[in-house]
Amino acid sequence: MTTMTPIGRVLVVDDDRALRHALAALLQDAGYQTEQAADGPAALATLERQSVDCMLLDIGLPGMSGLDVLARAREAASPPRIVMMTADDTPDVLLRSLQGQAHAFVRKPFPPARIVDIVNDVRRASAAASLPIEVVSASADWLELVAPCSLEMAERVQDFVMQLDARLPDDVRESVAQAFRELLSNAVEWGGRLDPTRTVRIACLRSKRMLLYRISDPGDGFDINRLAHAAISNADDPLRHDRVRQDMGLRPGGLGLVMTRALVDELIYNEKRNEVVLVKYLD
């Protein structure tokens, strides 16, 4: 018999015994060592006893809620990355999870394989992905964040923000999610130079008739007339920007702006172009 070295240690915290065991079994099959806890005090006791890489934490625990456990677990000497799980589809638990610096958030029910993908992503994420996100406003109608400039952080923020929009029609949600991701990636990559000591400011406003996202990056902005390496400047030839990028030694890309313009109703830059607002109308 051979013993495989586990690829990480995961603590599964859920009062639903069947689900807890099922998740643990899935993660063990994927190569993880697992621990289980049925309530908050047992979870915290496990964390005191041993370090874990990731904690899957149900919010609706009896007695001490998962959000209380999240707050306490963050005080641990070596806090795990925490993935919140809940069947509650209101924005409040998501926003409180974000305030509590949860790494990710997943709504039940979810396909079993998804949880393994999430834990794999959490395990592979760099230290920059776990840097704190400052929550300036945690209203569902006005979410405002200040976050470090890294692509992993951008993905983490996008995942949280788009779950606030879970009730939108699929086509609207997908378009907004893609546009938001493109602009946020641009902000952290080109504005923030992927320097996690710099930050982007993100505001997500929701009214009955529109969604509005504002992203401010710490860069110097850009000149729209000097974007020969972007598809938006080469409307007559969809391949020319790639040749320019190859000549400039840039990685493949240059399609973000043209894509975003087509996915949302309005795209407005400030004069320096280091701040952008996108608007999607809902009627």
Binding site: L151, S185, P238, D242, R243, R245, P252, M259
Partner: protein, 120 residues
């Protein structure tokens, strides 16, 4: 991202599983670059198991299309989702890539036959 590939004569069918995005682009880039270095420039990119493509992923597909075409080959797309087709349309790349719903048709567009499978 995981990628499998199989060959039909001088055509290589690449099957990525997962997302084609900034963070995961190296895997696909390396596979295509290796094929091109081997002179295998007739490529079918099967998007059936691709869950998401961002602008960098689309840019990578454009870049590899240009590379293959410069060497006398091509990159043709197989099984794109409705979402992927929409992205191709809004970026004007629908006029660049040939799109197929059947592997046989995609391979036949190069003029090949016989099947040999392997995984990377």
């Amino acid at each position: 991202m995981k990628i499998t590939q199989h060959s039909v004569d001088d055509v290589t069918v690449i099957v990525p599983v997962g997302r084609i995005v900034t963070e995961d682009g190296d895997v696909l880039r390396n596979v295509v670059d290796t094929l091109v270095q081997q002179g295998r420039v007739k490529i079918v990119l099967d998007l059936q198991q691709v869950t998401y493509i961002d602008s960098s992923g689309l840019g990578l597909m454009v870049s590899k299309y240009v590379t293959a075409r410069r060497r006398g080959g091509d990159v043709k797309l197989l099984h794109p989702s409705a979402r992927s087709i929409h992205l191709l349309e809004i970026t004007h790349l629908a006029q660049v890539f040939e799109v197929f719903e059947s592997e046989d048709d995609a391979v036949r567009a190069f003029g090949s036959s016989s099947f040999q499978a392997h995984t990377v």
